[in-house]
Amino acid sequence: MGMKKLLFVTQFEELWFDALQSLMDLRKAGFNHVVFIHVIERNKVAMRRGKGYLKDEEVKLKEIANVRFIDWAEALYEQGMEVGAYMVVGDLVPKVVSVAQEEGVNLIVTGHHKRGRIEGLYAGSETLELLQRTSTPVLVHKYMLPSGKVNDKPFERPLFATDWSHACERAVEYLIDLKEIIQEIEVIHVASEKSLKGSSAMEVQKTRKESKQKLNEVCEIFRAKGIGAKAHLYVGDVAEQINRAVHEHGASMVVAGTTGKGPWKERWLGSIPRKLAEQSEIPVLLIPVQIKPAGN
């Protein structure tokens, strides 16, 4: 797969042009087309008693987005890149999914829309909903480092958290495709404390050894493609341990597969992608499971 097109979702307040500029390293991996999308939520232009559909408001909001896009597009065109833009009214996630499909993008970039705890619990986060409805990898981009500096090489030192799932196998392929911009990958697996419970120390050691062996096999796949990789095993709460590993290894991005659990299971049992998107201080690249076309 040649990396070509990126969909940049500007609905989220955090995403500005310097966030996009911080991803320009992706050009070395063959990426040369940016598609902007700005979704005006229906309630902002919805029918009001005595006023009808707020057409003027729609025009105003579209033009505000257009002014911003023209400015951004000019900067990208001058670098020899291809640019497209959508300004649409509707519900955010369905619109993003449909444009991603229509344009055939290889990556969706969003910010993380912060919500209150209760609101998030009932409404779910946009990121989670997006992951459940698309096969396209989603980058929850946090381009400002806690130090206040811009993370301008987010793909340089990714930390890949694997649970051996199909989505993680897809993630391996995706990362290999980005090898031009990756320096080294830290491959980690977080085992649950429960999985290490055994009747003897030997049994626990056996589980540890097996996990380490699997991790090394993943590292070998990367090394065979010329990407440096190191294996690390952690034990405990997945999201917590991933964040710990990020600090220990100075990672520039977290990469993880999604579980493919149904929306309700994700919501009530807790979603690792959502926790990562919310808690991580660095960008999080989430690879969804391949969605099968209807009828298959």
Binding site: G80, E82, A85, E103
Partner: protein, 131 residues
């Protein structure tokens, strides 16, 4: 027979404006909503003139212009670029692509920054279409 003018733009308001101007002046408008559609329609209809936007979904006017001017059978069709993107940017992007792909393209026959005045548009069309 009236001359055919292909309008390549994704903005319905601009399409309505340009189509109205064209019809009022006796031209036959054709419409495409992005560069991909624009190239297909150009090959199919052989318009006498193309009015081209730059920032569009799927394929931009920059890429379509490059394809058009690189096609031996279509490159003589005159183009008016009608866009919010500055002319300087359009030219610089073509230069950047030329550097990358080593195929240079000529400047467009006319460049109008949006919004266009109807008189300005008609005058430019008349200059470029040989009756």
């Amino acid at each position: 027979m009236s001359k055919k003018v292909l309008v390549v733009d994704d903005d319905p308001d601009i399409i309505t404006f340009v189509v109205t101007v064209l019809e009022e002046n006796g031209y036959t408008p054709l419409i495409a909503k992005n560069g991909e559609e624009g190239m297909a329609k150009t090959a199919e209809e052989r318009p006498d003139l193309i009015i081209l936007d730059v920032l569009m979904p799927k394929q931009s006017g920059i890429k379509m212009y490059r394809e058009l001017k690189g096609d031996e059978s279509l490159k003589e069709i005159p183009v008016i670029v009608l866009s919010g993107i500055a002319k300087r940017t359009f030219l610089r992007s073509q230069e950047a692509l030329t550097e990358f792909r080593s195929q240079s393209v000529p400047e467009p026959e006319a460049y109008i920054e949006k919004p266009a005045e109807p008189e300005e548009l008609v005058e430019t069309i008349k200059k470029l279409i040989i009756e």
